[in-house]
Symmetry: C2
Subunit: 191 residues, 2 copies
Protein backbone atom coordinates (compact mmCIF):
# COMPACT_ATOMS: atom_id res chain seq x y z
CA UNK A 1 0.00 0.00 0.00
CA UNK A 2 2.33 2.73 -1.32
CA UNK A 3 4.40 4.41 1.39
CA UNK A 4 2.10 3.42 4.22
CA UNK A 5 2.49 -0.13 5.42
CA UNK A 6 -0.80 -2.00 5.65
CA UNK A 7 -1.46 -5.70 6.06
CA UNK A 8 -4.47 -7.75 5.10
CA UNK A 9 -6.66 -8.80 8.04
CA UNK A 10 -9.85 -10.79 8.48
CA UNK A 11 -12.76 -9.02 6.75
CA UNK A 12 -14.84 -9.66 9.88
CA UNK A 13 -14.04 -6.17 11.20
CA UNK A 14 -16.00 -4.74 14.12
CA UNK A 15 -16.76 -1.07 14.59
CA UNK A 16 -17.04 0.33 18.14
CA UNK A 17 -20.81 0.38 18.55
CA UNK A 18 -23.43 1.62 20.99
CA UNK A 19 -25.22 -1.20 22.79
CA UNK A 20 -29.00 -1.18 22.50
CA UNK A 21 -31.71 -3.45 23.85
CA UNK A 22 -34.15 -4.62 21.21
CA UNK A 23 -37.60 -5.21 22.67
CA UNK A 24 -40.13 -7.57 21.13
CA UNK A 25 -43.29 -9.39 22.10
CA UNK A 26 -42.41 -13.08 22.15
CA UNK A 27 -44.79 -15.84 23.22
CA UNK A 28 -47.17 -13.33 24.81
CA UNK A 29 -44.59 -11.50 26.91
CA UNK A 30 -41.91 -8.89 26.62
CA UNK A 31 -38.46 -9.97 25.54
CA UNK A 32 -35.19 -8.04 25.27
CA UNK A 33 -31.91 -8.78 23.54
CA UNK A 34 -28.81 -6.60 23.50
CA UNK A 35 -27.49 -5.73 20.06
CA UNK A 36 -24.45 -3.93 18.77
CA UNK A 37 -25.41 -3.75 15.12
CA UNK A 38 -27.89 -0.91 15.02
CA UNK A 39 -27.73 2.48 13.35
CA UNK A 40 -29.95 5.17 11.90
CA UNK A 41 -30.95 4.47 8.30
CA UNK A 42 -33.21 7.33 7.17
CA UNK A 43 -33.63 10.92 8.29
CA UNK A 44 -37.22 11.78 7.37
CA UNK A 45 -39.19 9.96 8.51
CA UNK A 46 -36.71 8.76 11.13
CA UNK A 47 -35.73 5.13 10.64
CA UNK A 48 -33.09 2.83 12.04
CA UNK A 49 -31.87 -0.63 11.15
CA UNK A 50 -30.72 -3.57 13.24
CA UNK A 51 -28.74 -6.56 12.00
CA UNK A 52 -29.81 -9.60 14.03
CA UNK A 53 -28.69 -13.20 13.68
CA UNK A 54 -31.62 -15.46 12.80
CA UNK A 55 -30.41 -17.94 15.41
CA UNK A 56 -31.96 -15.55 17.98
CA UNK A 57 -35.64 -15.50 18.93
CA UNK A 58 -35.97 -11.77 18.20
CA UNK A 59 -36.03 -11.79 14.36
CA UNK A 60 -39.07 -14.08 14.31
CA UNK A 61 -40.88 -11.86 16.82
CA UNK A 62 -40.12 -8.77 14.74
CA UNK A 63 -41.50 -10.41 11.61
CA UNK A 64 -44.57 -11.66 13.48
CA UNK A 65 -45.58 -8.38 15.12
CA UNK A 66 -44.13 -5.97 12.56
CA UNK A 67 -42.84 -3.90 15.47
CA UNK A 68 -39.91 -3.69 17.85
CA UNK A 69 -38.35 -1.23 20.26
CA UNK A 70 -34.82 0.07 20.55
CA UNK A 71 -33.74 1.11 24.03
CA UNK A 72 -30.47 2.75 25.04
CA UNK A 73 -29.31 1.40 28.39
CA UNK A 74 -27.03 3.45 30.60
CA UNK A 75 -23.74 2.14 31.96
CA UNK A 76 -25.54 1.44 35.23
CA UNK A 77 -27.62 -1.18 33.41
CA UNK A 78 -24.60 -3.04 32.06
CA UNK A 79 -25.06 -6.18 34.12
CA UNK A 80 -28.78 -6.59 33.32
CA UNK A 81 -28.10 -5.81 29.65
CA UNK A 82 -25.34 -8.39 29.45
CA UNK A 83 -27.56 -10.97 31.16
CA UNK A 84 -30.15 -10.51 28.39
CA UNK A 85 -27.46 -11.52 25.90
CA UNK A 86 -26.58 -14.70 27.78
CA UNK A 87 -30.02 -16.32 27.81
CA UNK A 88 -32.57 -16.74 25.03
CA UNK A 89 -36.16 -15.58 25.22
CA UNK A 90 -37.04 -18.93 23.69
CA UNK A 91 -36.04 -20.58 27.01
CA UNK A 92 -36.15 -17.86 29.64
CA UNK A 93 -38.71 -15.24 30.64
CA UNK A 94 -36.86 -11.92 30.43
CA UNK A 95 -40.01 -9.83 30.89
CA UNK A 96 -39.20 -9.11 34.54
CA UNK A 97 -35.58 -8.01 34.11
CA UNK A 98 -36.70 -4.42 33.55
CA UNK A 99 -39.83 -2.42 34.13
CA UNK A 100 -41.75 -2.84 30.87
CA UNK A 101 -43.94 -0.24 29.21
CA UNK A 102 -45.89 -0.24 25.96
CA UNK A 103 -46.44 2.80 23.77
CA UNK A 104 -48.76 3.49 20.90
CA UNK A 105 -47.84 0.45 18.84
CA UNK A 106 -48.95 -1.91 21.60
CA UNK A 107 -46.65 -4.77 20.58
CA UNK A 108 -43.24 -3.18 21.03
CA UNK A 109 -42.33 -3.46 24.73
CA UNK A 110 -39.90 -0.81 25.92
CA UNK A 111 -37.56 -0.73 28.88
CA UNK A 112 -39.11 1.96 31.08
CA UNK A 113 -35.93 2.42 33.09
CA UNK A 114 -33.66 3.00 30.08
CA UNK A 115 -32.89 6.71 29.64
CA UNK A 116 -34.03 6.55 25.99
CA UNK A 117 -36.56 4.24 24.33
CA UNK A 118 -37.94 4.19 20.80
CA UNK A 119 -40.85 2.23 19.38
CA UNK A 120 -40.48 1.19 15.77
CA UNK A 121 -42.77 -0.07 13.03
CA UNK A 122 -41.12 -2.41 10.55
CA UNK A 123 -40.58 -0.84 7.14
CA UNK A 124 -38.74 -3.79 5.63
CA UNK A 125 -36.76 -6.81 6.76
CA UNK A 126 -33.85 -7.54 4.45
CA UNK A 127 -32.98 -11.21 4.64
CA UNK A 128 -29.19 -11.52 4.51
CA UNK A 129 -27.38 -14.89 4.63
CA UNK A 130 -27.08 -15.19 8.42
CA UNK A 131 -28.82 -12.04 9.65
CA UNK A 132 -32.10 -10.21 9.30
CA UNK A 133 -31.57 -6.50 8.72
CA UNK A 134 -34.74 -5.04 10.25
CA UNK A 135 -35.46 -1.50 9.08
CA UNK A 136 -37.95 0.28 11.33
CA UNK A 137 -39.55 3.70 11.41
CA UNK A 138 -39.21 5.35 14.83
CA UNK A 139 -42.84 6.25 15.46
CA UNK A 140 -42.28 7.57 18.97
CA UNK A 141 -39.38 8.17 21.34
CA UNK A 142 -39.30 8.65 25.09
CA UNK A 143 -36.62 9.87 27.45
CA UNK A 144 -35.87 10.34 31.12
CA UNK A 145 -36.30 14.09 31.74
CA UNK A 146 -32.96 13.97 33.57
CA UNK A 147 -31.08 13.35 30.28
CA UNK A 148 -32.70 16.26 28.45
CA UNK A 149 -31.32 19.74 28.01
CA UNK A 150 -33.65 22.10 26.12
CA UNK A 151 -35.78 19.09 25.17
CA UNK A 152 -32.85 17.39 23.42
CA UNK A 153 -31.12 14.23 24.51
CA UNK A 154 -27.69 14.81 26.01
CA UNK A 155 -25.58 11.72 25.46
CA UNK A 156 -23.25 12.42 28.39
CA UNK A 157 -26.27 12.23 30.69
CA UNK A 158 -27.48 9.02 29.00
CA UNK A 159 -24.03 7.50 29.73
CA UNK A 160 -24.44 4.78 27.08
CA UNK A 161 -22.51 1.54 26.76
CA UNK A 162 -20.23 1.07 23.78
CA UNK A 163 -19.00 -2.36 22.75
CA UNK A 164 -15.64 -3.09 21.17
CA UNK A 165 -14.77 -6.44 19.65
CA UNK A 166 -12.91 -8.79 19.48
CA UNK A 167 -11.87 -7.78 23.00
CA UNK A 168 -15.60 -7.94 23.93
CA UNK A 169 -15.39 -4.96 26.22
CA UNK A 170 -18.07 -2.51 27.30
CA UNK A 171 -16.82 1.05 27.38
CA UNK A 172 -18.06 4.47 28.25
CA UNK A 173 -18.25 7.41 25.90
CA UNK A 174 -14.90 9.20 25.96
CA UNK A 175 -13.83 12.80 26.18
CA UNK A 176 -14.73 15.56 23.74
CA UNK A 177 -12.21 15.99 20.93
CA UNK A 178 -13.76 18.70 18.78
CA UNK A 179 -16.85 20.03 17.06
CA UNK A 180 -18.21 18.24 14.01
CA UNK A 181 -18.91 20.34 10.90
CA UNK A 182 -16.50 22.84 12.44
CA UNK A 183 -12.92 21.64 13.09
CA UNK A 184 -12.34 21.14 9.33
CA UNK A 185 -13.67 24.56 8.42
CA UNK A 186 -10.32 26.31 8.20
CA UNK A 187 -9.13 23.79 5.62
CA UNK A 188 -12.36 24.29 3.66
CA UNK A 189 -11.86 28.06 3.70
CA UNK A 190 -8.18 27.81 2.69
CA UNK A 191 -8.95 25.94 -0.52
CA UNK B 1 -44.77 5.36 32.09
CA UNK B 2 -45.66 3.50 35.33
CA UNK B 3 -43.37 4.43 38.24
CA UNK B 4 -40.61 5.74 36.05
CA UNK B 5 -41.14 9.21 34.64
CA UNK B 6 -40.55 9.44 30.91
CA UNK B 7 -41.44 12.18 28.46
CA UNK B 8 -42.04 12.02 24.77
CA UNK B 9 -39.20 13.48 22.68
CA UNK B 10 -38.52 13.96 18.97
CA UNK B 11 -38.27 10.57 17.25
CA UNK B 12 -35.17 11.83 15.45
CA UNK B 13 -32.93 10.19 18.07
CA UNK B 14 -29.20 9.84 17.45
CA UNK B 15 -27.07 7.00 18.75
CA UNK B 16 -23.41 7.66 19.60
CA UNK B 17 -21.74 6.32 16.47
CA UNK B 18 -18.26 5.61 15.14
CA UNK B 19 -17.24 7.97 12.34
CA UNK B 20 -16.16 6.29 9.11
CA UNK B 21 -14.99 7.62 5.78
CA UNK B 22 -16.86 6.17 2.82
CA UNK B 23 -14.67 6.00 -0.28
CA UNK B 24 -16.04 5.99 -3.81
CA UNK B 25 -14.83 6.60 -7.33
CA UNK B 26 -16.57 9.78 -8.50
CA UNK B 27 -15.93 11.48 -11.82
CA UNK B 28 -12.77 9.47 -12.40
CA UNK B 29 -11.17 10.17 -9.05
CA UNK B 30 -11.28 9.11 -5.43
CA UNK B 31 -13.82 10.77 -3.15
CA UNK B 32 -14.42 10.45 0.58
CA UNK B 33 -17.31 11.42 2.82
CA UNK B 34 -17.55 10.99 6.57
CA UNK B 35 -20.58 9.08 7.80
CA UNK B 36 -22.01 8.24 11.17
CA UNK B 37 -24.72 5.85 10.08
CA UNK B 38 -22.81 2.67 9.43
CA UNK B 39 -22.93 -0.71 11.15
CA UNK B 40 -22.33 -4.37 10.50
CA UNK B 41 -25.31 -6.11 8.94
CA UNK B 42 -24.35 -9.75 8.37
CA UNK B 43 -21.83 -12.07 9.98
CA UNK B 44 -21.01 -14.63 7.30
CA UNK B 45 -20.10 -13.44 4.76
CA UNK B 46 -19.21 -10.18 6.53
CA UNK B 47 -21.41 -7.31 5.43
CA UNK B 48 -22.04 -3.80 6.63
CA UNK B 49 -24.61 -1.15 5.79
CA UNK B 50 -24.42 2.63 5.47
CA UNK B 51 -27.34 5.04 5.47
CA UNK B 52 -26.44 7.96 3.19
CA UNK B 53 -28.57 10.95 2.24
CA UNK B 54 -29.20 11.03 -1.48
CA UNK B 55 -28.39 14.77 -1.50
CA UNK B 56 -24.73 13.66 -1.31
CA UNK B 57 -22.63 12.65 -4.31
CA UNK B 58 -21.65 9.31 -2.73
CA UNK B 59 -24.90 7.31 -3.20
CA UNK B 60 -24.80 7.80 -6.98
CA UNK B 61 -21.16 6.70 -7.10
CA UNK B 62 -21.96 3.60 -5.05
CA UNK B 63 -24.79 2.67 -7.40
CA UNK B 64 -22.64 3.34 -10.47
CA UNK B 65 -19.58 1.31 -9.47
CA UNK B 66 -21.30 -1.26 -7.26
CA UNK B 67 -18.46 -0.80 -4.79
CA UNK B 68 -17.36 1.43 -1.93
CA UNK B 69 -14.86 1.45 0.91
CA UNK B 70 -15.32 2.01 4.62
CA UNK B 71 -12.31 3.47 6.42
CA UNK B 72 -11.94 4.03 10.15
CA UNK B 73 -10.03 7.26 10.80
CA UNK B 74 -8.14 7.75 14.02
CA UNK B 75 -8.64 10.77 16.27
CA UNK B 76 -5.50 12.27 14.72
CA UNK B 77 -7.38 12.47 11.41
CA UNK B 78 -10.32 14.40 12.88
CA UNK B 79 -9.65 17.67 11.07
CA UNK B 80 -9.20 16.07 7.62
CA UNK B 81 -12.24 13.86 8.21
CA UNK B 82 -14.39 16.81 9.21
CA UNK B 83 -13.20 18.76 6.16
CA UNK B 84 -14.48 15.94 3.91
CA UNK B 85 -17.92 16.50 5.41
CA UNK B 86 -17.90 20.22 4.71
CA UNK B 87 -17.32 20.09 0.95
CA UNK B 88 -18.98 17.97 -1.71
CA UNK B 89 -17.12 15.76 -4.13
CA UNK B 90 -19.46 17.16 -6.78
CA UNK B 91 -17.64 20.52 -6.44
CA UNK B 92 -14.28 19.77 -4.86
CA UNK B 93 -11.50 17.28 -5.57
CA UNK B 94 -11.00 15.39 -2.31
CA UNK B 95 -8.70 12.78 -3.85
CA UNK B 96 -5.57 14.44 -2.42
CA UNK B 97 -6.76 14.83 1.18
CA UNK B 98 -5.42 11.39 2.04
CA UNK B 99 -3.05 8.91 0.48
CA UNK B 100 -5.32 6.79 -1.71
CA UNK B 101 -4.94 3.11 -2.41
CA UNK B 102 -7.03 0.64 -4.38
CA UNK B 103 -7.47 -3.00 -3.51
CA UNK B 104 -8.84 -5.95 -5.41
CA UNK B 105 -12.14 -4.33 -6.42
CA UNK B 106 -10.33 -1.57 -8.30
CA UNK B 107 -13.12 1.00 -7.94
CA UNK B 108 -13.30 1.38 -4.15
CA UNK B 109 -10.58 3.86 -3.16
CA UNK B 110 -9.37 3.44 0.40
CA UNK B 111 -7.61 5.84 2.74
CA UNK B 112 -4.14 4.33 3.03
CA UNK B 113 -3.34 6.27 6.18
CA UNK B 114 -6.46 5.18 8.09
CA UNK B 115 -5.62 2.47 10.61
CA UNK B 116 -8.39 0.22 9.19
CA UNK B 117 -9.84 0.11 5.67
CA UNK B 118 -12.39 -2.22 4.12
CA UNK B 119 -13.36 -2.63 0.49
CA UNK B 120 -16.98 -3.57 -0.11
CA UNK B 121 -19.00 -4.94 -2.98
CA UNK B 122 -22.63 -3.80 -3.05
CA UNK B 123 -25.10 -6.54 -2.13
CA UNK B 124 -28.19 -4.37 -2.26
CA UNK B 125 -29.12 -0.71 -2.01
CA UNK B 126 -32.38 -0.18 -0.14
CA UNK B 127 -33.98 3.05 -1.30
CA UNK B 128 -35.53 4.73 1.75
CA UNK B 129 -37.39 8.07 1.55
CA UNK B 130 -34.38 10.38 2.05
CA UNK B 131 -31.48 7.94 2.33
CA UNK B 132 -29.93 5.05 0.44
CA UNK B 133 -29.11 2.16 2.75
CA UNK B 134 -26.15 0.58 0.98
CA UNK B 135 -25.46 -2.98 2.07
CA UNK B 136 -21.99 -4.18 1.12
CA UNK B 137 -20.00 -7.34 1.52
CA UNK B 138 -16.56 -6.68 3.03
CA UNK B 139 -14.41 -8.49 0.47
CA UNK B 140 -11.10 -7.45 1.99
CA UNK B 141 -9.85 -5.52 4.99
CA UNK B 142 -6.50 -3.92 5.72
CA UNK B 143 -4.93 -2.55 8.86
CA UNK B 144 -1.89 -0.72 10.10
CA UNK B 145 0.29 -3.42 11.76
CA UNK B 146 0.64 -1.05 14.73
CA UNK B 147 -3.06 -1.52 15.65
CA UNK B 148 -2.87 -5.33 15.60
CA UNK B 149 -2.36 -7.63 18.53
CA UNK B 150 -2.20 -11.31 17.58
CA UNK B 151 -3.48 -10.37 14.10
CA UNK B 152 -6.65 -8.83 15.55
CA UNK B 153 -7.58 -5.17 15.48
CA UNK B 154 -7.25 -3.47 18.85
CA UNK B 155 -9.70 -0.58 19.00
CA UNK B 156 -7.71 1.33 21.64
CA UNK B 157 -4.81 1.46 19.20
CA UNK B 158 -7.11 2.52 16.35
CA UNK B 159 -8.29 5.42 18.57
CA UNK B 160 -11.47 5.98 16.54
CA UNK B 161 -13.70 9.01 16.46
CA UNK B 162 -17.20 8.75 17.85
CA UNK B 163 -19.88 11.30 17.02
CA UNK B 164 -22.69 12.37 19.32
CA UNK B 165 -25.62 14.47 18.19
CA UNK B 166 -27.34 16.90 18.53
CA UNK B 167 -24.28 18.39 20.29
CA UNK B 168 -22.29 17.51 17.13
CA UNK B 169 -19.22 16.50 19.09
CA UNK B 170 -16.40 14.14 18.20
CA UNK B 171 -15.35 11.97 21.10
CA UNK B 172 -12.81 9.35 21.92
CA UNK B 173 -13.56 5.84 23.04
CA UNK B 174 -13.97 5.84 26.82
CA UNK B 175 -12.73 3.65 29.60
CA UNK B 176 -13.38 -0.07 30.03
CA UNK B 177 -16.46 -0.85 32.11
CA UNK B 178 -16.67 -4.63 31.96
CA UNK B 179 -16.53 -7.74 29.84
CA UNK B 180 -19.36 -8.51 27.44
CA UNK B 181 -20.91 -11.98 27.62
CA UNK B 182 -19.46 -12.13 31.12
CA UNK B 183 -20.62 -9.45 33.60
CA UNK B 184 -24.21 -10.79 33.45
CA UNK B 185 -23.15 -14.38 34.00
CA UNK B 186 -23.80 -14.48 37.72
CA UNK B 187 -27.40 -13.44 37.17
CA UNK B 188 -27.76 -16.12 34.47
CA UNK B 189 -26.40 -18.75 36.85
CA UNK B 190 -28.64 -17.63 39.72
CA UNK B 191 -31.83 -18.17 37.76
Amino acid sequence: MAEVERVRVSPNVSLPMPVVLIGTRLGGRANFMPAGWCCRANLAPPMLCCGINRTHATPGAIRETGTFSVNIPSAGQMEATDYCGLVSGADVDKSTVFEVVYGELGTAPMVADCPVAMECRVVEVVSLPSHDLAIGEIVAAYADPAVLRDDRIEMDAVDPLLLTMPDNTYRSLGRELGRAWSVGRRRAEER
